[in-house]
Point group: C2
C-alpha cells in the first residue's frame, strides 16, 4: 500500500521535495503540502503541475498549518492519512512535528537539527540536545524517524558509512567538503533563509579533533582544495550537525566540515557582523522602534527562492576519508556534482535546494518500500548506504568515487592547508 | 547691550556651541539651549559648568522645544529675550526656526542648508531651494540671517573671500579640501548623525566645472594631496552646499569639494549602500514590521557623541585657490589644523564638532558687536572675512596661509590627480 506523504514547509527545499515526490507519486500515493503561508503551498503545487512533474494522475493538496501546534499537526496527519511526514520547514519546528508523528505513528524525516529560536546557534552535542532525548519515545511508538537526511547532513553521512563498509578498515579522518561554485548574479545573496544561513557562521565553529570538540572562530581556518569539475576552491572550517552524529556512530577521531566562501561573501558578512547587523537581539531606533537587525538584513536581501532562474555553475559536495585497508594507506573521496541550470530546468530550483531536497524524498521511497523502515530513530550513517546511493543515482543525484587504491594518488589535492589542521 | 543667545539642538555641534558661548558669555549675555530631548540639554549644561566654561557668572537655561513648531519657537525666543538664535539642530529645522526669527526679529545663524526629510539629498541649486527664497522676508524684517556658518560651509567661504580680497585678481579654481586624519578606535563610526552623514554620499555628487553643474558618482573621482601636518591624504569628490553659494557670489568657474575617506570606510559604506541598508525608504520584515533600514544602521553604530574621548589625530580643512595677481600665476592655500585630543580636553568634543561649532559662535560675537549685524540674509563670503578670521584665531581655530608668491612653489602638491578633473 502506498503511504501518502505530508510535506511540511513551503520554502526552496520544500519546492524540490514536492517535485520529487510528484515524480514518484506512483510509489508514494497521495501528496500533501502544509505551511503557515498557504499561498506559498499553492505556488509550489502550481509549479509541480506546470512542469508536468506528476508521474501519474493523483492528488496534491495544500493545507494551512502552524506546525508549532502539535494538535493541529496530529489532526492534519490523520485527515490526510499520511504515513510519512517530510519536515522541511523551519529548523524551529522539528520537535513539534516529531511529537505529532509519534502520536500518529507516521514516519518522520528532516534535513537538519532542531534549533531554539532564542539561541544564535546550537552548541554541540547537537543531536543530543533535542533529538536523541526522544529515541525511546520513537522506539516505543515504533515509528521510523530519519534525522538529517538532506545532502549535508544526509548523503555525506551515507558516503562516510560506505567508505567504512567498502573501502577502509580503519578511518583516521573525515573531511566533508561543501562547494558551491555557482553564480547567482546579485551583489550579495544567501542560498537559504538569511536568518538560518548567518546563524551558522556568527558563533563558535566546532570541529572534532583527536576525538574531542575543538573551538575556532569563523573564517579562522582556510583550506584550498583542487576538486573534480569545480577545480581549485577555497573553503573555511565551519560547524555542522553531522560532525556530531558521525563522531558518535563511526568513531572517526578527526571530522571537519569545510564550506566554500568567496572573498566578497566574507567581506560583506564581516562588515554586517562587525556592525552588529546580524544580531538576533533587538535594538531600539532613535524613534523608539524596537527591531531585530538580522530581520532587516533579511528584508533587504534577495529572496533565496528568487535566485534560481539566473543561477549558473555547479556544486560539488562530498566526503574525503583517509585511513587503511588491509594495512595499506588508502584515501577515498565520494561526492556528487550538481548543476544549477539543470536543476532549474528540471524542477525550477537551484542546486543548493535540489541537493538538500532529493535525499529526503529518497529516504521516503526507502521507507515506503520497507528498505529503511526501521521503526526507530536513526541518523543516516546507521542505515545501509547502498540502496540510498543507488536510488539517488536514478532520481537525480549520481555519486562518484575517487579511490587512491585505483588512482594511485590522493583523490583530492590540498593546495593550501589550514595551518593548525594539517593531517 | 548683550543680546542673549538661544541655541537650538543638543547634538555634538550644539555641545561645542554651548561651551564657546559660555566662554564668551561676557559678550553674549544670558544663554539658553533647547531641544526635543531636554535630557540632552541638561547634559550639555552640566558639561559647561563642570569644565568651568562660563567666563563670568550667568544664566544657562535648558528648554524642551519641538523646533518644527514655529509658534512654540517664537514663544521661547520672546520668553528668553534672545537676540541671536544659533540653529545647530537637525537640517530639517532651518525653515521653521528662520520663520520664528523673522517673526521675532532675532538674528539667525545656521551651519548647513535646509533639507527635506523625504528626500535623500537636496539637488543643486542648494541655497536657492529654500533659503534664498526668503531673502526679501529677511530684508523687510531687517533681521540678520547668516547661512552656513560652520567650518565647511562657513570658514572655507571666508577663506575664498579672503583670497579674492587679498591674494588674487582673477580666480580660476577653488578646491575645498576637508581631511579628517583622526582615529576613533571603533570598527566603524560616523562623525555626525549617520542619517545626515550617509545622505551626503548616497546620491549624485555635484561639482561646479566651467561654470556649470557637473554630475558624478560618489567615490568616482579620487585625488591624493600632500598637505601640511596631516601629510598624504586620499580624497574623493563630494557634493557640498558651499559650492553653490560660492559659485554664485565669487564667480569662480571651477569649484570642487574633496573629502578624505579611508579604504575601510569606503568598503563598509559600499557594502551597506549596495545591500540597500542606507535607504530611507521603509522595508517590511517577514513578520510584517515596517522599518527604515538607515534608522537600524544608525541604531547599531556608535553614537557620534561617544567618539570624542578616544579620538586622536588632527583635521586639516582649507581652501586652495589658483589664479593670477597682477598678471602673475599665484596659488594660495588657506587652512586650519585642529587636534581631536586638544578639543576634547578643552570642551569635551572631537575636532569635527569643534570646527563646525566655533565659527557659528564667532558669527554670533560679530553680530553682537555690530561688525556682521547686516540686517539681511547673507552667506559667509558676502561678509568681511578679516574680523571673522581674527576672532577665530583668538577663540580656538587659528588660520594658516601658504602663498606661492612667498614659497615659490605650489602650496599643496597633488600626488595622484583625479583623471577627468586635472586643472
Amino acid at each position: 500500500m502506498k503511504p501518502n506523504v505530508l510535506i511540511i514547509g513551503a520554502g526552496g527545499v520544500a519546492h524540490v521535495v514536492a517535485h520529487k515526490c510528484a515524480q514518484n507519486n506512483h510509489r508514494l500515493g497521495e501528496l500533501h503540502i502544509a505551511s503557515r503561508k498557504l499561498e506559498k503551498c499553492h505556488r509550489i503545487v502550481e509549479s509541480v503541475y506546470s512542469k508536468g512533474s506528476m508521474k501519474m494522475p493523483g492528488h496534491f493538496q495544500t493545507h494551512s498549518l502552524d506546525a508549532m501546534n502539535v494538535a493541529a499537526t496530529v489532526q492534519l496527519i490523520r485527515d490526510t492519512k499520511a504515513g510519512i511526514v517530510i519536515n522541511v520547514g523551519s529548523a524551529f519546528l522539528n520537535m513539534s512535528v516529531m511529537s505529532a508523528c509519534i502520536e500518529t505513528g507516521a514516519a518522520y524525516i528532516d534535513t537538519a537539527i532542531h534549533e531554539d529560536p532564542s539561541k544564535v546557534c546550537e552548541p554541540p552535542p547537537w543531536y543530543a540536545n533535542y533529538e536523541w532525548k526522544r529515541r525511546e519515545e520513537c522506539d516505543r511508538a515504533g515509528i521510523t524517524a530519519i534525522l538529517g537526511c538532506g545532502f549535508d547532513p544526509g548523503v555525506v553521512n551515507a558516503y562516510a558509512r560506505l567508505a567504512k563498509d567498502d573501502y577502509l578498515d580503519e578511518i583516521d579522518s573525515l573531511d566533508i567538503i561543501d562547494i558551491n561554485a555557482g553564480k547567482h548574479g546579485h551583489y550579495f545573496a544567501t542560498n537559504f533563509d538569511p536568518e538560518i544561513n548567518f546563524r551558522e557562521f556568527t558563533s563558535t565553529v566546532w570541529s572534532w579533533q583527536n576525538s574531542q570538540w575543538q573551538a575556532a572562530k569563523m573564517f579562522e581556518h582556510k583550506q584550498t582544495w583542487d576538486l573534480p569539475v569545480v577545480g581549485q576552491q577555497a573553503t573555511y572550517l565551519t560547524g555542522h550537525d553531522e560532525i556530531h552524529s558521525l563522531s558518535h556512530h563511526l568513531g572517526i577521531p578527526d571530522i571537519r566540515f569545510w564550506m566554500s566562501f568567496g572573498e566578497h561573501y566574507i567581506n560583506v558578512f564581516t562588515v554586517l557582523n562587525n556592525l552588529g547587523l546580524l544580531s538576533e537581539k533587538p535594538v531600539v531606533t532613535a524613534e523608539g522602534q524596537e527591531i531585530i537587525p538580522l530581520k532587516v538584513v533579511k528584508a533587504v536581501l534577495p529572496d533565496p527562492a528568487s535566485l534560481a532562474p539566473r543561477y549558473t555553475g555547479k556544486t560539488c559536495i562530498g566526503s574525503l576519508l583517509k585511513g587503511r585497508k588491509n594495512g595499506e594507506e588508502r584515501e577515498v573521496f565520494i561526492y556528487n556534482v550538481c548543476d544549477h541550470k539543470q536543476t532549474y530546468e528540471e524542477v525550477g530550483s537551484q542546486a543548493i535546494s535540489y541537493t538538500a531536497g532529493v535525499p529526503a524524498v529518497a529516504a521516503a521511497l526507502l521507507i515506503a518500500d520497507g528498505t529503511w523502515n526501521v521503526r526507530r530513530m536513526v541518523n543516516v550513517e546507521e542505515l545501509p548506504p547502498q540502496p540510498f546511493i543507488a536510488l539517488m543515482n536514478e532520481i537525480g543525484l549520481p555519486t562518484q568515487v575517487i579511490d587512491s587504491a585505483a588512482s594511485g594518488t590522493s583523490p583530492v589535492e590540498v593546495i593550501d592547508a589550514a595551518d593548525t589542521l594539517r593531517s
